[in-house]
Symmetry: C2
Subunit: 229 residues, 2 copies
């Protein structure tokens, strides 16, 4: 069974891919979009993860959204915020929010799915740890799916396009638990927003802290090296 999977090379999308396989989607088409983020190590990680998964095909798309600016992830002039924890994450929209990122990613995934006549698209968005992001909410995903079925040949021909976000309601610890059960190799994933020049994770940015906290809560040791943990 065919499916498109958005692969960032991070922990969430790697786990999502493993879930897709466990649900019988054995023909996975990977899609990695580089929208100009600073952490290019993610792209290398996505390639490694794709190889480990045995994808049918893996497309890498360059989309220079960074030109629009507007996010700490995309603009060297905005500092990456440190010290956001799971407790205060819901308070406001974080500076690492990339304008319309998931809308853009899902649109490109939809174009890819339409081309290969796949009707299932998997993505690793998560509402628990990223509830400050409007485009990680269940209501966003529902609205996108509705729109997608109106937008495409597949949709109007009666083939229901489905967006699967199996991690949507899981905590980071639950995601890691699930991934460990499914045999995900987290040593090849990359999460850090602010890595050292050699790619080592900083251990201090929001993304590192959420990941480390998740591993602790799940009762596992994170296999990747950190500058500080």
């Amino acid at each position: 069974m065919k499916a498109v999977i958005l692969l960032s090379g991070g922990l969430d999308s790697s786990t999502t891919a493993a879930v897709a396989k466990s649900e019988g989607f054995d023909e996975l088409y990977g899609l990695t979009v580089n929208y100009g983020q600073r952490h290019l190590f993610e792209i290398d990680a996505a390639r490694r993860v794709g190889e480990a998964l045995g994808l049918k095909r893996h497309e890498f798309i360059e989309l220079p959204l960074f030109r629009f600016g507007g996010s700490a992830l995309l603009d060297e002039n905005i500092a990456v915020p440190h010290g956001r924890t799971i407790e205060n994450v819901e308070e406001d929209i974080p500076d690492t929010y990339v304008p319309a990122r998931n809308t853009v990613l899902l649109s490109i995934a939809l174009a890819y799915a339409e081309t290969i006549r796949a009707f299932d698209i998997f993505l690793g968005i998560n509402h628990v740890d990223y509830s400050g992001y409007p485009d990680c909410r269940p209501e966003f995903l529902e609205a996108f799916e509705k729109m997608a079925n109106l937008a495409t040949k597949a949709g109007i021909e009666g083939n229901q396009i489905r967006f699967h976000a199996p991690l949507l309601r899981l905590s980071k610890a639950q995601i890691i638990q699930k991934g460990m059960e499914l045999g995900v190799d987290y040593s090849i994933t990359h999460t850090c927003y602010d890595p050292l020049p050699d790619g080592t994770s900083c251990g201090e940015c929001d993304a590192c802290q959420l990941r480390l906290q998740g591993f602790r809560e799940a009762g596992f040791t994170d296999p990747i090296p950190y500058a500080k943990r």
Copy 2:
């Protein structure tokens, strides 16, 4: 008043930009996406149209969707269909349909708008002459707008994001009529799907035929040269 305008360099988007200006949007941010279409002459036309409009800024984004294949516009191996007329255009989805094109274009426009804090996005889609395309239907646009307001910081902060498609329900002749009233210079636009190597419009592809028929019905002479008209 700020607005983002999707500019392809064609007749419809040029007219749409003129409508936006006439409605008081005097700070126009142009966005031209090259998704790998064969008619690169469109990109040159978009640049000319942008200059004529006096845009505040004009972004050109390369998005190699052609890698996914699946459309005569994007794949040299699929012939461009000729001879489709306004009468039979509604029968089925034409081969020139690009998978999820408008979804992708609107998503990138949304990211751009979010970055510059604009809440209005203009696009030249049209339901009358392109009713074979699922993503040119009013119900698609409504669903996209709903999704966009859930997806973005602007939307959840209570700033209603609006997608304006002033040509949606106009015929090609009515579009041209309106553009002539607003002083659009159609001599700098490009429409042909299958131009000669020097950029001259073929006069035979669907796009040329719809355009020529529109000018005839509006009672004007199309100012661009054609190989055959």
